[in-house]
């Protein structure tokens, strides 16, 4: 029987990790993720899990130790945020290209500089091309659910990739919510007692891992890695279906909120979706046909499915809680607009960069975005690349 509990996002993730009972957790503390390894180290000290916990000296070593443990066939998890994720950068690419499933819980926090501890998505957006699967979570419930599904997705024989589970720093990591947790036994059954590694150090066959790969094979290996990411799309949906059977909670690539007859839509990631849903309800009560899409799976990017979901709207605003400094728009915007190109042309697609460094986003601001969309449809006049809530 699932149980209802009141937990913060970090507690939910730490308890999820306890239920998963990984072989190795190597971590280094960083706000606002610190509590995850901290709670977990207490489970280890109390003998509530069988995990080897290693308090390493940096995130670079945390990810390196995780890679070593995964190369040896272990089930491996860790947690970080912001500069910690940035310091893992080199190893993120190594872990993904070596096709080592691992689960990394990221509490999204702004990247330095300037140094800032509050939420935006510059950390994981910066890691978007590292080869990791990225699942985003609106709430503590979703962070927990994504964490458990992440193990199964990453370890699937057709995928064999590491997975990042992302949720907003402080907003989700520290706020306490009511949520439903699975029974320990159900989690165990769902993820399987042990990771089954097709190859590992001291596995069935002799191996050398992480070797030099020059022009005669490097490209083919990268091609296979890309194929694994494509395979992940199917597996993510299969795992979600199985999870739904267990919990009744439905997960896909993204959530569509009041999109059936929507004329305008916002596309957004993580906790801002909660604020935006409230605005959708308010505007719907006024008879305005507004909708929302909340992205759950950013890597692999569900391009076709997303374009299809936007087939009937006239105008879309993509809200990015990270800038890409491309001088052409934020990262989510670039993906969404390119997904639409050639599939659902002729729409107005605009971008808002918002909330950098933890700047609050208000319902009034989101209402303004919807108003801008209606205005753009009416007048045909609009700016593509906009900032929301910044002093100019």
């Amino acid at each position: 029987m699932a149980k209802r509990v009141s937990l913060s996002g970090n507690e939910a993730v730490a308890f999820g990790m306890k239920q998963i009972n990984p072989d190795v957790v190597a971590a280094f503390p960083i706000t606002p993720s610190t509590e995850v390894p901290q709670y977990f180290s207490q489970f280890v000290a109390n003998g509530e899990v069988d995990t080897e916990f290693v308090a390493v000296e940096s995130e670079h070593s945390a990810m390196s130790a995780c890679i070593g443990a995964a190369a040896a066939g272990g089930r491996v998890m860790t947690a970080t945020a912001s500069a910690g994720l940035a310091l893992m950068w080199e190893m993120l690419y190594v872990g993904a290209s070596m096709r080592l499933p691992m689960v990394l819980a990221v509490t999204n926090r702004a990247l330095s500089g300037p140094i800032n501890i509050h939420n935006d998505h510059s950390d994981t957006m910066g890691a978007r091309d590292s080869g990791w699967i990225q699942l985003y979570s609106e709430s503590a419930q979703e962070a927990y659910d994504n964490l458990i599904q992440a193990v199964k997705i990453g370890e699937h024989k057709d995928v064999q990739l590491p997975v990042m589970v992302c949720y907003d720093g402080f907003i989700t990591s520290h706020a306490v919510e009511n949520l439903e947790m699975l029974d320990d036994e159900d989690v165990k059954k769902f993820v399987g007692e042990k990771r089954i590694a097709p190859f590992a150090l001291l596995g069935q066959d002799p191996v050398s891992m992480g070797p030099l790969d020059l022009p005669n094979h490097y490209f083919e290996h990268k091609r296979l890695q890309a194929e694994a990411m494509k395979n992940a799309k199917k597996v993510i949906l299969e795992v979600a279906a199985e999870y739904e059977k267990l919990t009744g909670r439905k997960y896909g690539f993204f959530e569509e909120y009041k999109m059936e007859d929507a004329e305008v839509a916002i596309v957004v990631i993580n906790s801002t979706a909660g604020t935006a849903k409230h605005v959708v309800d308010t505007l719907r009560a006024q008879g305005k046909k507004v909708g929302l899409i909340k992205i759950r799976v950013f890597r692999p990017f569900p391009a076709e499915e997303l374009a299809d979901a936007l087939r009937n709207v006239k105008a879309v605003a993509v809200m990015d809680k990270a800038d890409s400094f491309s001088a052409a728009g934020g990262p989510l915007f670039a993906e969404v607009r390119s997904a639409m190109y050639g599939r659902v042309d002729g729409k107005i697609v605009i971008n808002y960069i918002y909330g950098l460094g933890g700047r609050d986003v208000t319902t009034a601001q989101i209402e303004k975005v919807y108003a801008d969309l209606f205005n753009a449809i009416e007048t045909g006049k609009y700016e593509v690349y906009n900032y929301l809530g910044v002093r100019e």
Binding site: T34, P37, S41, F53, E57, S58, L87
Partner: protein, 250 residues
């Protein structure tokens, strides 16, 4: 009336964010007094770490650079090389210096960078809420060692001063403490000597200061001072670990 005691000019007249009883404040003051006494405020550049002293740039009156976690000695290297007649110091905690920044401190010392490091060792990651650091003592309770540091799984503390003293580029390394007035006076002398040797262009200098973290040790400031004296000083013996000028006639 003669003024016998005043706020050092190198320390700004602002309240700090440090917890009550925290000795970071005393160490700031010692550094500031030394800067005043040497008359180098206008050519000193401080490099602040990530840790509880992350806001040191709000407290010191000299120019300051706030470095990424652990990178202060590397950043200080760049500053000193670009402005060789500046006086450059880093102010770093044990997490910053002895965990994530171990490579930077070792190599700045090995290269004999003409900078001064003030290393504040409180045996814990203070800022992030009290997790085990490489300097945490065997048996010490922290958030990530709830039953005390177990050396079988978490290994042993690093004695950074002794380690740095083995490097030829380090000219002066001393460990001091701020647990008592006599020790505070010694600490100041050590900091002053480190700055002076930097000014003479001798090489890398470091002063490790044993410091308390009442908040994360879960002790009152008085108890924390006692704990430092009874536990830290035996593991981290005070004194000069390296001084290439020892025996030189002044």
């Amino acid at each position: 009336m003669a003024i016998v005691f005043e706020r050092p000019k190198a320390l700004l007249d602002v309240p700090t964010h440090y917890c009550p009883g925290c000795t970071h404040g005393i160490i700031h003051r010692l550094v500031a007094e030394v800067i005043d006494e040497l008359g180098i405020l206008d050519k000193t550049i401080g490099v602040a770490p990530v840790g509880c002293s992350v806001l040191a740039y709000d407290y010191f009156a000299c120019d300051m650079y706030e470095a990424a976690h652990g990178r202060a000695p590397a950043v200080a290297t760049g500053i000193k090389r670009a402005v060789p007649d500046s006086i450059v110091f880093t102010y770093q905690g044990d997490g910053d210096l002895a965990a994530i920044g171990t490579a930077e401190i070792v190599h700045a010392a090995a290269r004999g960078e003409k900078i001064t490091t003030i290393f504040v060792n409180n045996a814990i990651y203070g800022m992030t809420g009290g997790q085990m650091a490489p300097t945490t003592l065997p048996g010490q309770v922290t958030e990530t060692s709830p039953y005390g540091r177990d050396v079988n799984t978490a290994g042993y503390p690093i004695r950074v001063s002794e380690m740095i003293a083995t490097l030829d580029g380090a000219v002066y390394v001393e460990r001091v403490s701020v647990d008592s007035v006599p020790n505070i006076i010694k600490a100041k002398k050590a900091i002053k000597k480190a700055f002076e040797l930097q000014m003479q262009g001798k090489g890398f200098t470091m002063v490790e200061v044993l410091s308390i973290c009442p908040t994360n040790w879960g002790l009152s400031p008085n108890e924390a001072i006692k704990w430092l004296r009874e536990n830290m000083i035996p593991y981290y013996p005070l004194g000069v670990k390296k001084d290439i000028t020892a025996g030189e006639v002044k």
